[in-house]
């Protein structure tokens, strides 16, 4: 387990470093980032001033290491438009997005696990067909359109929930549904496949043969094993959601990291953009690391170093 943990930790560190390099060089895709910030038709001295301000005139390697060392110390530079340290803004907004992500994954799990279990217990039944429909529809529904449709019905037509903002708990209901529904199909399919596989295994037959109640077999014996991969998938999906919440946060004007990302993209605020991409990527790396370690801890067969 120790060897596996160390190896996984090393890979995670290497991935995080590579991501930081890509994130840093992202702003050079257009050639000169100073021109990208200044916009077309900017005066030469303005571009020169921007180049000086951001330090684009120094060697790229030097810029990268300065940025990386700063980032490691929690210093992402100053936001050009917000006129305050980027790190402060990010840590102020991150909890909102985390809360939204947690609510969304909770919604997805509450919907997906019972449906997946029921579908596996009665394969090809009506419940199974219904679950399959939910999955197929969920995968094809554009999240932003689903969110707008929720706004129209729950917010405007029936006036049940507030449309925008992030001050009260009611504000989070629709965004959590819109964001969570998108990851439901994957979790449901995995739950169904896992339970289906476990139910046909020998130890379940033994449990049934010794006369355990069907419910006890299902919950105490089958679900416990089938749920392991679902846990790590949920961790991964949570990471995906943090990155994907930009669309939902923009629609509902939730003051989280996604909305900040959209604002800084609009304003060409490069330091903030870089910091958000790096923060979300590192969170994702940590989540997958956690998921892998958890899996290996629960299932020794996966500890192949």
């Amino acid at each position: 387990m120790l060897a596996f943990t160390l190896k996984r930790l090393g890979v995670a560190l290497l991935v995080a470093l590579t991501v930081s390099l890509i994130t840093f060089s992202m702003i050079y895709v257009s050639g000169d980032p100073a021109i990208a910030i200044a916009g077309e038709g900017a005066r030469a001295q303005d571009i020169e001033a921007i180049r000086k301000f951001y330090g684009f005139d120094r060697p790229i390697i030097e810029q990268y290491f300065n940025w990386l060392i700063g980032a490691l110390q929690g210093d992402f530079g100053r936001s050009y438009t917000l006129r305050q340290p980027v790190a402060g803004v990010i840590f102020a907004r991150l909890p909102v997005t985390m809360l939204l992500g947690a609510l969304a994954i909770a919604f997805a799990l509450v919907l997906a696990i019972p449906l997946g279990v029921l579908a596996a217990v009665r394969p090809n039944s009506l419940v199974d067909r219904f679950a399959l429909t939910v999955a197929v529809v969920g995968q094809a529904m554009p999240s932003f359109w689903f969110a707008l449709t929720l706004v129209l019905w729950l917010g405007v037509h029936w006036r049940l929930l507030p449309i925008t903002g992030s001050d009260r708990w009611q504000n989070f209901v629709m965004p959590a549904i819109a964001l969570g529904y998108y990851v439901t199909p994957a979790i449901m399919r995995l739950t169904r496949a896992g339970v289906l596989e476990v139910l046909s295994s020998d130890y379940i037959r033994t449990a049934r043969a010794k006369g355990l109640r069907p419910m006890a077999v299902l919950f105490k014996h089958a679900l416990r094993n089938a749920i392991i991969p679902v846990v790590s998938l949920s961790a991964v999906q949570f990471g995906f959601m943090l990155g994907g919440s930009i669309v939902i946060e923009t629609i509902f004007q939730i003051n989280g990291l996604g909305y900040l990302a959209w604002e800084s993209i609009q304003r060409k605020d490069l330091p903030t953009m870089q910091a958000i991409v790096l923060t979300l990527s590192v969170i994702y790396v940590l989540l997958t690391l956690l998921g892998d370690l958890l899996n290996a801890f629960l299932d020794p067969r996966l500890r192949v170093a």
Partner: protein, 306 residues
Amino acid sequence: MAELSVKRAGTMSAEEILAPSPGALLRRRIFRHWGLMIGGMILAAIVLMAVLAPFVTTFDPYDQQLARKLIPPVWHGGAKATWVHPLGTDHLGRDYLTRLLYGAQISLLIGFSAMLISGVIGTVMGVLAGYFGGRVDMVVNFIITTRLSMPVVLVALAVVSIIGSSLTVVIWVLGLLIWDRFAVVMRSATQQVRVREFITAAQALGCSTPRILLAEVAPNVVNHLIVVATLEMAHAILLEAALSFLGLGVQPPTPSWGLMISEAKGLMFFDPWLISIPGVALFLLVLAINMLGDGLRDITAPENRG
């Protein structure tokens, strides 16, 4: 038992001797798969309408008639609704059906092109990793992990905003970002093929590696490739719509479904059909492609082979 089967073999009917060919079996599986048939038909209808758009509608998707703005679709009734504009007109008086049809061209074009680019990248990486294993596999795996840890929508938005958005930029950015599933699936498919006897035989015969990859490996992984290709095309279409919705995809006045929803956002409380129509179109297209992909996976899965 043996006697029985011998006797049976002796009295085979004409039908049994003329057993269906593999092709006939495949066709039968295709036509019996409802999801595949429905998905395929919806997709064919959308492609046909997109290609024939200039013949289906006489309007120009860019032509603004401000005097005729915001006509509701025919099923809404009312004094303004007219069969001249079956789906109504938008806030600039452009025929909504026409915008929808030309928007289908954009969605299909972007989805297909981005899928091609990502397919080439992902397949090359996956096949090489699966065939050679060892160091190559480690490197490819690392690249896949790195790619997966970066948030697609965010990176795409940021890069498009820095380069400046256009149709080509959107296609390339999406194509260069979403190859991960191709690589993952092709890697494991190739790993399964690599250990088969005919590969060993080809190696023993002294075939060159490119020949083995093209003539022996490729035909055996191509069914997985087609399935991933359909699902990734749907993925690319959804991403384009999301980018255009956020204002960083296809630029106005190009008709794109995501952009149509974005432009109608401010009016959706008064004219909700403005977002429902492109939304339903987008949903149907992605649903059809996904159903086709799922169906193809069902009929080509080795365990279903008759």
